[in-house]
């Protein structure tokens, strides 16, 4: 058997083109990785990380477990296409071996085996399994068709709008399996065999269609099937389907602890191309659901960045709230990618900037516990006063870093892409903290908290959010609280919750004071107040619109007081609230301190 007929050519050309492109892309990206990243890979290869990554590849790239969690039907669709196709290839391979033994068979021999196997004795078990798998994949294709029209049923209000390359690949993909069904059925019609699907259709065709027509049809069908495969393979590396092959190395690299950073790097390519444009990130975005802005979401941002057509309007219009990243089944580090795109667009050298900070020190006090209010807290003096009362009640001696004039923590600059300038703020504040020899740093602003924890080198200084600090005071008995009859609801600030993983302490503190009522979207799914410093694009009116929608949800709990733990959230929600009072966590604590 020589396993070659002319109709194989489109498939062979497509497959070869695809593998060359893939090898070239992967090679280039890996080659361009920074030296430190390469070292991480080499060191990680012989460890458990490799095994864990392999396991994750099976769970995610084949079974799509995380999509199942978003919506089972959507998960099934993705799984049937990925896992089903994988099984078709794997079982197909086994089938070839079963028929011809262990001998070398070219790729097209495996793929079009049914065409070549007509002269061989029939193996009904394989025919049955292969038909079952084909049905499995076809059900996924049918769902994909359906999703175009009934996306809501799959838990998605909006689906992604696609570029031309995607449309070509998508159409080819949609036709591959129906084409395979018809091709195999016609062959069955002529030579018998096949399982419950191809065999039955084949038998029906054999009865109703003349042999001459069937012969023509067979050749046309196989040519069509092979062409669909060829077109799909050629288009794949340039379309969203590149994610099929990119998610796999991404999972490994992530396990070897490679991370994206505030400056673009070659590793980002793996993340950007691993986006399948599934569109799951669209629905959670409040810019879409509240404001109707529908071209800036992560899926579009990544698409534009990948094809080199990213505009500042898209990169800048995002709250970096992380609601999309929290849902992304590929777990792409969307916020960091957005930040390093902004860095590329907006960063300016900053050697001479902020020279005026030299020698500035407006701090006061001498304690080992430092309190950094942050710019925003200085605008919400009630928080500051409340913190003063809490420190006093606990008998803490405090070093006040910035009560009489702050220097920003640098995160707003970083979020805007001016990362070099942000570095200057870091240097200044780090030096200040070191100079005063503090061992604990408390801040009431989650934005500062995040940058202190992640970007500052503050070894030896424990950084705490005031919610954590207050919680410790209560737990250790240093702060006595009187429980009252108040009913509270809590708004998770993005930078505190999704950003820093702090959900429990503020809740524990509130529960020590009164009754806590949870809103519909809470914890990891909490909404953003809309006033995020990360967004320099939306207008004041739009911020207010988001704030109103968020406070409406919070007020629906029936609580008289909306509590939050971020000065910026407090300002934002305060504008949106209709009848509830908006207060910072520290304020309600200060009021409940036993006299």
């Amino acid at each position: 058997m020589n396993f070659f007929v002319p109709f194989c050519i489109p498939f062979i050309v497509g497959a070869v083109a695809m593998f060359i492109t893939l090898a070239w892309k992967w090679g280039l990206w890996l080659y361009r990785l920074p030296r430190a990243d390469k070292k991480r890979i080499v060191c990680g290869l012989p460890t458990r990380a490799t095994l864990d990554a392999a396991g994750e590849v099976v769970c995610e790239s084949l079974l799509h477990r995380r999509i199942f969690r978003v919506n089972p039907l959507l998960g099934y669709m993705h799984m049937s296409l990925a896992f089903g196709w994988f099984l078709l290839i794997a079982v197909g391979w086994a089938e070839t071996i079963a028929y011809v033994g262990f001998r070398w068979v070219p790729l097209q021999g495996h793929v079009f085996f049914r065409y070549f196997a007509t002269g061989l004795p029939h193996k009904p078990v394989f025919a049955f399994i292969m038909d079952l798998l084909l049905l499995f994949v076809l059900s996924g294709v049918a769902l994909a068709w359906g999703k175009r029209f009934f996306s809501k049923r799959m838990g998605m209000r909006r689906t992604t709008r696609h570029v031309l390359g995607d449309r070509i690949a998508l159409s080819a993909l949609w036709f591959i399996f129906p084409a395979r069904l018809i091709a195999e059925s016609t062959t069955c019609a002529l030579y018998e065999g096949g399982g419950f699907l191809t065999g039955t259709i084949g038998a029906w065709m054999g009865e109703h269609i003349s042999t001459m027509t069937l012969l023509t049809l067979e050749s046309v069908a196989w040519w069509f099937y092979s062409s669909c495969l060829g077109i799909f393979f050629v288009a794949l590396p340039f379309s969203r389907y590149m994610h099929i092959f990119t998610e796999i190395p991404l999972i490994f690299l992530r396990r070897y602890r490679l991370r994206s950073d505030e400056k673009e790097s070659s590793y980002d390519r793996f993340q950007v191309d691993a986006c399948s444009r599934c569109g799951i990130c669209i629905d959670p975005c409040q810019l879409q659901s509240v404001l109707g802005v529908d071209n800036v979401q992560s899926v579009y941002f990544l698409r534009d960045r990948r094809y080199g057509m990213l505009r500042a309007e898209v990169a800048d219009n995002c709250l970096l709230c992380g609601r999309c990243a929290q849902r992304c089944p590929v777990q792409i580090d969307l916020n960091t990618l957005r930040i390093n795109s902004r860095d590329r667009l907006h960063n300016i050298p900053a050697e001479r900037r902020y020279d005026y900070l030299k020698g500035v020190d407006r701090s006061s006090g001498t304690g080992k516990v430092g309190y950094f209010a942050g710019c925003m807290t200085l605008l919400t003096p009630r928080t500051l006063v409340a913190m003063e009362r809490i420190f006093h009640a606990a008998g803490e001696e405090v070093w006040w870093a910035d009560r009489d004039g702050s220097v920003c923590c640098g995160r707003p600059l970083k979020l805007a892409g001016e990362t070099d300038a942000a570095c200057k703020m870091r240097e200044y504040n780090t030096e200040l903290f070191r100079k005063h020899g503090i061992t604990t740093l408390v801040t009431s602003c989650p934005i500062c908290l995040k940058v202190f924890r992640e970007d500052y080198a503050l070894d030896g200084i424990e950084v705490l959010h005031h919610s954590q600090y207050i919680f410790r005071l209560i737990q250790s008995g240093r702060l006595a609280i009187e429980r009252g009859a108040g009913q509270f609801t809590y708004h998770d600030p993005c930078e505190l919750g999704r950003g820093s993983g702090i959900y429990d302490e503020p809740r524990a503190v509130i529960e020590a004071i009164g009754l806590l009522l949870e809103p519909v979207d809470t914890r990891e799914n909490a909404l953003c107040c809309g006033s995020s410093v990360a967004n320099t694009a939306i207008t004041d009116g739009q911020q207010l619109q988001i704030a109103r929608s968020v406070t409406a949800e919070l007020e629906a709990t029936g609580a008289g007081t909306i509590v939050t733990a971020c000065p910026l959230c407090k300002k934002a929600l305060g504008r949106g609230a209709v009848h509830a009072e908006v207060r910072d966590l520290s304020e309600i604590v200060a009021d409940a301190v036993s006299k």
């Binding site: 907006h346 300016i348 900053a350 900037r353 902020y354 005026y356 900070l357 500035v360 710019c375 925003m376 200085l378 605008l379 004039g405 702050s406 220097v407 920003c408 640098g410 707003p412 600059l413 805007a416 001016e418 300038a421 703020m425 006033s531 410093v533 320099t536 694009a537 939306i538 207008t539 004041d540 009116g541 207010l544 910026l568 300002k571």
Partner: protein
């Protein structure tokens, strides 16, 4: 009589001849950020300014001069801003002040 020091200074009176200034950049800026035209010059932004608290930097003055076509030094001045966002929270006209800082820097980078 010795002047009483109230803790602030007043800029010297001066005249700007709008016919002589080239308003092209100013027009571009206002086209991209029309809300800046609604500024009432209240100075709240400057009063709370983090950078202005530590150095000679007056946000209201800089963006007002830029709108009048006085671009000299505006870029360097705006580079003193820390983008902290306090000004945006106090502006009674809800002007996207951080956006203004970034826009002026983008438009006047070469002045």
């Amino acid at each position: 009589m010795a002047a009483i020091h109230f803790g602030y200074t007043i800029s010297k009176p001066r005249a700007i001849d709008l016919d002589r200034n080239n308003l092209r950049k100013s027009d571009e800026i206002l086209r991209e950020m029309p809300e800046l035209q609604t500024c009432i010059g209240c100075g709240s932004c400057t009063a709370v300014c983090t950078a202005g608290n530590l150095t000679e930097f007056n946000f209201r003055k800089v963006h007002t001069l830029v709108r009048r076509g006085e671009y000299q030094g505006a870029y360097e001045e705006m580079n003193k801003c820390m983008l902290c966002g306090k000004c945006r929270l106090v502006c009674p006209r809800g002007i996207n002040t951080r956006g203004v800082v970034l826009l002026i820097k983008r438009k006047l980078g070469d002045f």
